[in-house]
């Protein structure tokens, strides 16, 4: 396993870069969906971080809150494109306001391909 602790870091701040009011799972269900976040922000940033060997910190603070479907669609969705091991090595999460979210997101990443 690669030691990623000392890697240079890049940041995604959901509240300021995407929306303070994250919405549902998919675009057709409403605005600011997890699918939209995955396609427009998370996936390109993840690829950039992976290619430039940086740690991608996802800052979850500052929003009004999250629905499980948003988080699953975004992070679980990424894990349906890339290996979950690779994602967990490249990504880290910051959530001072809702610390339990980190564990939940990691669970979605691990379970993304289960049926």
């Amino acid at each position: 396993m690669i030691n990623t602790m000392n890697l240079p870091q890049m940041m995604v701040r959901i509240a300021s870069e995407f929306s303070e009011t994250p919405g549902p799972r998919s675009r057709d269900e409403g605005d600011y969906s997890g699918q939209q976040f995955l396609e427009e922000i998370l996936k390109p940033r993840f690829e950039e971080a992976k290619n430039t060997k940086q740690k991608l910190i996802v800052d979850l603070d500052g929003t009004d809150g999250y629905a499980t479907s948003f988080l699953e669609s975004a992070f679980g969705g990424l894990a349906r494109i890339y290996e979950s091991r690779e994602i967990l090595e490249t990504m880290a999460f910051k959530s001072n306001e809702e610390p339990y979210l980190e564990m939940e997101i990691k669970q979605y990443i691990k379970e993304a391909r289960k049926t």
Binding site: T21, G23, E29, A67, T68, E97, T115
Partner: protein
């Protein structure tokens, strides 16, 4: 000479033609007037009959879905049945002694249901009790003529009930409801992450599970009512869909237990909240919404979670899960944010402060 003769003939023939034309015109006009009068008479007759078919339906004394679920469900059913007979239902609330915001929104949702709207009309009167009448006025339930149970602006003076309906997840509505309630409760807009998550999960639940037809989406209604005296914000979320329990695709062993009477729907709802029964789609990562609402309640991000779905009433805080003798059409959620409880929790545990 011949020319003059022909000119006279021409004039004569034109006169005859004009005469006939005028006769035709007059006769047409007369026919039109007769037809109009006939129509006018029929219209007043139809209108008269329509007015005569108004049926007064007396409300239960305590019009509260969370306190008297069976009586209110029975009342809603009566309203629906009468309106389906192409009659005007007059919801008689004049003698009620108790009223909660959840019942008002249940009536509003029912009266706006396309199936009900297509057939009849629902109107109502105001409680005689002044306190309850004020509560009723604050709901924004009044339209231009008597009571019009339609979506409309809230009464800004009090603005106790704020309601929206939609067929999509509307994160901005969730934020607006929270902003409204926190401004009333705490004097400033605050983030209530547990309430936000719960509202979005409820909306998700409606658009994904309230109808068995994948192309169809049910309408949801969300309200918040602020009780100034008790300093509590009451949140209500409702849809008139098929209900949580009807939308579940249960595994064979649960179906057998249900049929054999070894299990009932109240136990099934408990298991859904505890995350033991997944989504009907069968994917492990779906069906997390209701367990998430339960988790947020357990984390004390709000209090007094009540769910009514199909034939189950669940007061989660009191651990009272029971079968109703009459099923509710759709799914209903209620929860509360109390000023005192919020401050108490924030004082005891800094991390609770959202």
């Amino acid at each position: 000479m011949r020319k003059i003769k022909s000119h006279q003939k021409y004039n004569e023939s034109q006169r005859q033609k004009n005469k006939k034309r005028l006769k035709r015109k007059l006769s047409h006009k007369k026919r039109l007037e007769n037809w109009k009068n006939e129509l006018k008479d029929n219209f007043s007759e139809i209108y008269k009959n329509y007015r005569l078919e108004e049926v007064k339906v007396k409300s239960p004394e305590n019009l509260s879905l969370i306190q008297e679920p069976e009586k209110v469900i029975d009342y809603l059913e009566k309203i629906e049945n009468i309106s389906s007979e192409r009659k005007t239902v007059l919801c008689d609330l004049s003698d009620i002694e108790g009223l909660t915001s959840d019942a008002i929104i249940a009536i509003i949702a029912l009266s706006n249901d396309p199936k009900v709207k297509r057939n009849g009309r629902i109107v109502g009167n105001v409680p005689k009790n002044q306190k309850l009448a004020d509560k009723f006025y604050d709901s924004g339930i009044f339209g231009e003529q008597r009571i019009k149970f339609a979506d409309g602006a809230i009464r800004q003076a009090h603005g106790a009930i704020f309601r929206k309906h939609n067929t999509q997840v509307k994160a901005d509505v969730a934020s607006a409801l929270i902003k409204f309630s926190t401004e009333k409760l705490f004097g400033e807009p605050l983030k209530l992450k547990g309430v936000y998550t719960t509202l979005i999960e409820c909306m998700n639940n409606t658009i994904n599970h309230a109808t068995l037809d994948e192309d169809d989406r049910e309408v949801w209604w969300a309200t918040v009512y602020f009780d100034e005296e008790r300093k509590i914000a009451f949140f209500n979320f409702l849809d008139n869909g098929v209900g949580i329990l009807e939308s579940l695709d249960l595994k064979w062993h649960n179906n057998i237990k249900l049929k054999a009477g070894l299990k009932d729907n109240s136990q099934i709802l408990r298991e859904v909240l505890e995350g033991k029964i997944g989504s009907r789609i069968g994917l492990s990562y779906r069906g997390k919404g209701l367990p998430e609402i339960y988790k947020r309640f357990k984390r004390e991000q709000f209090s007094r979670l009540i769910i009514i779905a199909n034939n189950v009433f669940a007061d989660v805080e009191k651990d009272d899960f029971r079968i109703l003798n009459k099923p509710f059409k759709g799914t209903f959620f209620h929860w509360e944010i109390s000023y005192d409880k919020y401050n108490e929790l924030a004082a005891n545990d800094g991390s609770h402060s959202e």
